[in-house]
Amino acid sequence: MPKMVVEARIVRNTEIGVNVKELVLYAPEIAVQAVPGQFLHVRVADSYYPLLRRPLSISGADHITGTVSTIYRVVGQGTACLAALTSKDSVDCMGPLGNGFVIHGQRPLLVGGGMGLAPLLFLAGALCPRPIEILMGGRTKEEMFWADMFHNKCDAIHITTDDGTLGSCGVTLDLLPEVLKSGAFDVIYTCGPRIMMEGVAKVAKTYNIPCQISLEEYMACGIGGCLSCTCAGKDGLRKKVCTDGPVFWAQEVMS
């Protein structure tokens, strides 16, 4: 089925954490096609400033209700526009764009940090009925509302916070070796800050566990036309984060 541009009605746009909102759109054409790891490209305002669309990871899709969701942090002008919208509004939305996670293996470990947990939420649902463990990190307890969202999708949740207010004090990478020793994982899916994903990919390589990463990059068109978001592939070819990714096997883009 082709990717498309739709005028999507906002079902709800609610605060789920400090400066973090969940946007649920009625877009049955997108919901029926969406797979975890793909993204929406949303016109946050019918304006010339902001002008460009904003790429937003899909955090869930329900083809029965025809809804597709995303979770975003209000960080700049674009997300501030988005945050101001209500269920009376609709948005121009392209999707589902990009390539999602490849469902692989039987014992997945998810490793996520910050807003990178949004696509992993969708992925966790798709990995059912496999036993799923997740390692998640954030700066502080207030950011870890995610734990509740993953609670009924995962068999074990490992948490780190920078300040130690919840779970282990430190970052996900500190706890990763310990988590890996505790279970016979055969695949790792990771999304979060670049430095975290690089670390996870490195550890996965040491443990010889296949690893998929979801990259984030500034992009304009979202469909492979502008080349704003490309990165160097390990095969010597350029990779477009928007259409070759955003999900890659770690060895495709990281050493």
């Binding site: 669309r53 036309g225 502008c226 704003s228």
Partner: protein, 307 residues
């Protein structure tokens, strides 16, 4: 009697027959194929593909785009797979569509422009557009587009290496756009397209660092439109070859402004990023405008601004 699209909108620019006067600007529409799910490529005037070089280029490092008021800065740096890959893999796939393909080319030397033109002198290419105005690469690009003599040398070299129509894309980053236009016309350009992006810069006030990895980049989008309209108006009066106007076109009204200023065709650029069917919507809107004004053909608008 109803008048069909091509009857109202069809134009021929430098021998290139187009169903509408609305083309896609190089660098904003990939190689066209990227957009096929969203827009009917057969309904676009012409697809001007991403700037192509002799060898593959990986482009600039670091962040490549930044949003600015009513526009954006880019510093892609001519990333492209090279002319061989274009000819062997991409062009054959474009044959499935009934749309003229114009190849934007960029060289490091005058000879490279000539070689590129020779390589692209094939049946499925409708024309070449000389990029002598890219602000994002160190050598070539804009270095040729800000000096009348070197621009002229590039055009002559290309003309002697191809039978195809040659469009020259001008940079707005010059003191005298009319002098540049006249130079390339004298050198044999079959059409002139303008404007390329304006050199700009954006600074992150929290990090005290430039937003773009390349420090500076090309400004495009609605913010540049008045400058583009002015330059098209100046150039169109001063040359005999057709002018293709571009710079911030989002709507049909924008395109009509360019036509009234003297453009015989237009190109949609940044708007493709916002609305992948922009080129088609602009053409549809132009047709409605013509009908409302009781006009029969889009050429009735060209250069008709009353001063």
């Amino acid at each position: 009697m109803s008048i069909g699209d091509s009857d109202m909108l069809g134009v021929t620019i430098a021998g290139i027959k187009m169903k509408t006067p609305v083309m896609t600007a190089s660098g904003t529409f990939g190689f066209g194929l990227e957009y096929k799910d969203f827009v009917n490529l057969n309904k676009i005037g012409a697809v001007v593909v991403k700037g192509t070089t002799l060898l593959p280029r990986s482009g600039n490092q670091g962040r490549r785009i930044a949003e600015t008021p009513a526009g954006m800065l880019n510093s892609i740096g001519l990333e492209n797979p090279g002319v061989d890959e274009f000819l062997s893999t991409i062009l054959p796939r474009l044959k499935d569509y009934d749309v003229p393909v114009i190849v934007n080319i960029s060289g490091n030397t005058v000879e490279e422009y000539g070689e590129l033109a020779a390589r692209l002198n094939v049946a499925d290419v409708a024309g070449v557009e000389l990029n002598i105005s890219c602000p994002n690469v160190k050598e070539g690009g804009i270095a040729f587009g800000t000096n009348c003599d070197s621009a002229s040398a590039v055009v002559k070299q290309v003309k002697s290496n191809t039978d195809l129509p040659v469009i020259v894309k001008l940079s707005p980053n010059v003191t005298d756009i009319v002098a540049m236009a006249q130079s390339v016309e004298d050198a044999g350009a079959d059409a002139i397209s303008l404007i390329n992006t304006l050199l700009g810069m954006s600074i992150d006030i929290h990090k005290w660092r430039p937003v773009l990895g390349n420090v500076v980049g090309g400004l495009s989008g609605p913010a540049v439109k008045p400058i583009a309209v002015r330059m098209v108006w100046q150039v169109a009066q001063s040359v005999k070859v057709p002018v293709i106007g571009m710079g911030g076109i989002v709507t049909a009204e924008d395109a009509i402004e360019f036509m009234l200023a003297g453009a015989s065709a237009v190109a949609v650029g940044t708007a493709n990023f916002i609305n992948p069917c922009a080129a088609q919507s602009v053409a549809d809107g132009m047709k409605n405008y013509l009908r409302q004004r009781g006009l029969f053909h889009v050429s009735e608008l060209v250069g008709k601004v009353n001063i």
